[in-house]
Structures are given as C-alpha cells and as structure tokens.
C-alpha cells in the first residue's frame, strides 16, 4: 500500500506541479527539480523495501559523541 501511495504522490507532483510549470523553468532548474524528486522518491522506495539506510539521528549522535565526548 505504501508503494502505491508513494507512486501516486510522485506522479501527482509531476502531473500537477512540474508539467504545467515546465515552460517557465530554466533548464538547470528543471534538471534540479527532476533530480531532487527522483532521488528522494528512490530513497523512500528503497527504505520501504528494507534497504538499511543509516538514520540521520544515529549519525548525528555518533558525531556529537566523537566531537564533544558526551
């Protein structure tokens, strides 16, 4: 179910937000838009599949422990 929700969300963003405004975007902005959306969508899908991404909280706690020694 989550996969369907994510696919619908991604398709919705492209159809409702990206395609109607594509003409007013410069080429670098279009590339940035599509790049960010695709990257985030891929990460979210992989996270749902069960790929063990490191959690930001875990990384930050480890860094703070190393830097501040707490």
């Amino acid at each position: 179910m989550i996969y369907v929700i994510l696919v619908v969300l991604f398709a919705g963003i492209l159809c409702i937000d990206y395609i109607p405004r594509r003409q007013v975007m410069t080429r670098p902005l279009r590339l940035w838009y599509l790049g960010v959306c695709l990257f985030c969508f891929a990460v979210l899908m992989l996270d749902q599949v069960g790929v063990p991404f490191p959690r930001i909280g875990t990384v930050l706690i480890w860094m703070i422990q190393k830097i501040f020694g707490v």
Binding site: M1, I2, I5, L6, L9, F10, I13, D17, Y18, R21, V24, M25, T26, L29, W32, Y33, V36, C37, C40, F41, V43, L44, D47, Q48, F53, R55, I56, G57, T58, L60, I61, I64, Q65, I67, F68, V70
Partner: protein
Amino acid sequence: MKTIHDNPVSSREMVRMIILFVFGSSVVMGVNPRTMQDAWICLLIAAAISVPVFFIYARIMHLMDGKDFFTCVLDWFGGIPGRIVIALLVWYYLYLAAVVVRNFSEFMEIVAMPETPQIPMMISFLLVSAYLCKSRIQVISQWSIVGLCITVGIMIITVLSTVASMRPQNLLPILEHSPPVMMKSSFEIFAFPFAECVVFLPLISAAKHGSPYKVFFKGLFYSTLVLMVIILRNVLTLGPQLMEAEYFPSYSCARIMEIGSFLSRIEGTISINFIVSGLTKTSLCLYSGALGLAKLLNVPNKLDLIIMPIFLFVLMLCALSYTDAVQMFNFLDFYPFYALPFQVIVPVVIWLVGEWKAHSKKTSSVQTASQPS
C-alpha cells in the same frame, strides 16, 4: 513577480507566529521534564539566556536595514562563504521541519493509530505545510491568528478542567536539583524551543512596521508565559515523578481531566493543539528553508517552483531521521550540541561580519564627505 517584501505582515502577526512556533512541539513533548518540579525555574533561566541571543537576532535584522536576509548574507560574506552560510542555515531549517513532522507521526502512532504506517501521516502533514508555504507568509500569518486562538483556548480549557486535580505540594521541594543539573536543563530548554527562533531570521524582514527588537522580545515574553502555564499545569496535575516518566506529559495530563461528571476523555484536544502549532512550525521552517534554497539556486522570486522538491526532500529526511520513538527521545539529549552551531555560532558570525561591514561603510562615507571638492 512576488517577493517576500510584496506580502508584508504586521509585527503583531509576527509575534503570534513566534508564540505558535515556540509552542510547536513543546505542547506534546513537554518542556524538558528532567528537572521535574524545578522545570519552571529552568524555563526562566533559559528565557534569560535567550535574551542576548534574541538581541543578536534583532541586531542582525536592524543592520540589514529592511533588506532580505539571504541577500545581505551574500553581500556581507561574498560569493562562496555566503553560500556556505546559507546552505548551513537551509539544512538546519529543513531538518528541523523533518524532526517536527516525525514528532507528530510518532505521537500519532503511539497514542492513537498504532497499526497505521507513518508515511501517509507524514505526507498529509507535509502537504498542508507545503500548501501554506506556496501561499506565502501572509497566509501563514493569518493562519497563525486562528491557530493561536485555538491553541490558547484549548490550553485555558485544559488548565481550568484540571484545577480539581492539581496538588500545590507537587511543586515542593523547590531547588531540589543541583546547579549543574539545573543549568544543563536550562541549556536544553534554550536550544529547544527558544533558540529555534533562528528560523525567523529570514522572515522578520517581512514585518514592514515595528522594530525587530520588539518583535523578538515580545515573542520571547509571551512564549515563556505560555510554556510556564504548560509546565505548571503538568507538574501540579501529574506530579514530578509521573511527569518525568511520561513521553508525552501534556497528553497524559489531559487524559485525567474531567469537566463535571459528563465530559471526559478529552485528551484529543491536545492532539489538535499539536496539529495546529506543529503545522505552523513546519510551515515556517519549510518557508525559511525555501527562501534560502531559492537564493542558492538564484531563483529568489520563483519560490512556488521549488516547494514540491523541498517537500519530497523533507519527507525523505523525516523517514530517515530516526529508527524509532526511543531514538527520537534519546536524541533530545544530544540536540543542544547539534543545534548550537546553527542557533548561536552562525548568527554570531553573521552579526560580527554585519557590524564590520556597517562600520566600514560608515567610515568610507565619512571620508568621502570630508574630501575637498
């Protein structure tokens, strides 16, 4: 083309936004219950620590002389250093938005919907925030008027309906904790929620009238007042031990209140508070982050073109932020160390560079005026 300055808001609306912002997650997460019955003293110390920091924020706005925050940062620091400073602030704003949404989804999962996955809750919460951002600061400020009425109204109702359960002896003994523990707790309250007002640095220039000092200090005063009421309500009703033990003390407090003998189980009202103030906090973080990112991408007037990628990015951060609720609460101990560079060090550097630039500008203008024609 619309810019932030085309949608001015009044300073009173800005103060309301600061109150709702500070109210944000604290309404459910509680205000650092570690010092139990002494938490109210720590709150006052944290407010006192916040005064010089808020003074620096206001001074930065004063030095900008009505110009856009990120434009000034680029002018003062120059190309690459300015972009690094903006990137740091953007990261802080967007990750803060993600953390607030994660707090909300964990709260909903724990207290109301244990079987529902968190992603749909995060999407719905973030979509509303993204819509508010697309509608710009004026709509967020108008939403904050409604939001403040709702949250303060609910807070007053919860206080009045728990009066019968309050035990004044729960506040005793006063100053039971050692000074280092009190200072640590005060520092944590300073970092979360007071100094999170660094989010307002790009927004204050939207308040066309009124001094930034007044906006920040009025916001600090009223938000301290609101948090004080929350702390006292929780301590007096739950008692210090239960307040420390609970993950969501305000929610637990609302669970035991009754209005007469006919209206009980009104803890859902606390969830309404969290949704209203959490939405405001997330929207403001997203909006500030979007302003910074628009500056980095050199499209400052096309904010609505970049909101949806930012929405997806924050959703990703939100999903990847913590493993579970336990880590989320553990991270609160480390949060001040993570947030301090963004809340204090970066603004202090901006302030010092701003003072230096303003001084050199004044000196050069005096020299030009004194030169014989």
